[in-house]
């Protein structure tokens, strides 16, 4: 076994127990029986290690799911989907635990968050195409909800599987979920998640906007606006960004002034999030 693999295996055990942030490089190297320096011969940083782990397992998981979805008869498809996923989680329970623990944006590395988000979307995509193939036109309104139900049930039962130490009957579990999802697909009528909603979520998450960016946008906007309360408000807001002197309540009011102007919606949205309103 290469040193890299050794580190990945041993580190995964610790991450599953304690979480990524809570595990130090020293602990990992102790657990491997190597020195700290040796760690950095295999990985250039601790981030690169978790990056490798997530890439290694997620590519496998997603290609597995995708292959199964594409190459299974309809009558067995849903069962296969659940069963293989649960089996994979069961076989690689340490990784699954890490995934569960770190799912909610625990990482500080922006690149890693984006990677996780991308993998999540890929799973969604495979699930959606399965749902569409299985139920066709009859669930055209509720298909996104169906995907979210599958996700919700899977993640909750996975938690049960991973964090209870009782060995579970994964076939029975998968069958019970198949029954549930079939029921929902055939009889549920109220759609909550619409196509539009999905599209609005798909846009890249807003990065924290900087003072400089806001100033630049304000300057441009002020130039293009005609004399009005809105323009006056923008000017005051710009001055406040350059030299903060206004009461927060006043700032909020100024943003409120421009919030409904058709050309200022975006900038007011950014200002609101900049000032944490």
């Amino acid at each position: 076994m290469s040193k890299k693999q050794l580190i990945m295996e041993k580190a995964l055990e610790l991450f599953a127990k304690q979480g990524f942030e809570a595990t130090s490089v020293q602990q990992i190297t102790d657990h491997c029986g190597i020195s700290k320096g040796a760690f950095y011969l295999s990985f250039k940083s601790k981030d690169e290690l978790i990056f490798s782990l997530i890439d290694y397992f997620m590519t496998q998981l997603i290609s597995d799911i995708d292959y199964k979805v594409k190459n299974t008869q309809n009558n067995e498809l849903l069962f296969t989907y659940f069963y293989t996923t649960f089996q994979t989680f069961s076989q690689h329970s340490d990784f699954a635990k890490v995934l569960m623990k770190e799912q909610a944006q625990t990482f500080h590395n922006q690149e890693l968050i984006e990677k996780m988000y991308m993998y999540d979307r890929l799973v969604d995509k495979a699930t959606l195409s399965m749902v569409e193939r299985l139920y066709g036109e009859e669930i055209i309104n509720t298909k996104y909800d169906l995907v979210y139900c599958i996700k919700g049930l899977m993640s909750n039962y996975s938690k049960l599987m991973l964090f209870s130490n009782v060995p579970l009957d994964l076939k029975l579990l998968s069958e019970s979920l198949v029954e549930k999802i079939n029921l929902l697909a055939e009889h549920a009528t109220i759609a909550f998640i619409s196509e539009d909603f999905i599209r609005s979520m798909e846009q890249p998450a807003l990065k924290e906007v900087t003072n400089e960016q806001l100033l630049e946008m304000l300057t441009l906007k002020i130039e293009e606006m005609e004399e009005s309360i809105e323009k006056e408000s923008l000017i005051l807001l710009k001055q406040h960004l350059l030299d903060p002197s206004l009461n927060l309540a006043i700032v909020k009011g100024l943003i409120e002034n421009i919030r409904n102007h058709p050309h200022c919606k975006w900038i007011s949205y950014l200002l609101l999030s900049y000032f944490n309103f």
Copy 2:
């Protein structure tokens, strides 16, 4: 506002954004505009702060849910359950985010993990009693699965609500979940989670609260409260605990008086279960 409250509010904002571990005490005090020393005048450690936050919100949430479950007509119960929970999450979205982020055993403080586990079990308990009341004998085999489905769907849709920045139609969301759960309750036949399984997972949850504990809590609460109907009610309840003399109806009324005071939710929940209401 007391300094303690200020710290709790400001810290919650940061925890929601960055997570508990990733937020330093220095950041919190900067955000409050106070010194680091001042923080330790209000809380004896960073752990005590997150402890207080979780206690403060979870006691409210659980007593709210419990009360709703006990005091809503069957035909509206499930909707009310979903709607109030989503509304609470929406109103206290920072706390809900912290809850989501830290749900998977991220904490290192053992006491805190146990506390979270206890609260989780209490929610399960309230949900189970709702399910039993709604569907009675017909779901006797699948009731635990039903509870887990409710949890899974709720947590997944809550994530959607909290981390998408689009305002959502919570009534529609609740209605769609009501439909789904009704379908599962009425038609699902395959049970995965058995009574035995639950029992094997069970560790001591809420111990029966004693007269002495209640007296102590009441004494503390009475001290910190301002003159009001609520305080008067607490004093009468304390006297009744020391020397039972009041009619049960009066006791129930007194508890009702304090039930909606934000600082009395937990104690009223404990009183209700103590008197078997």
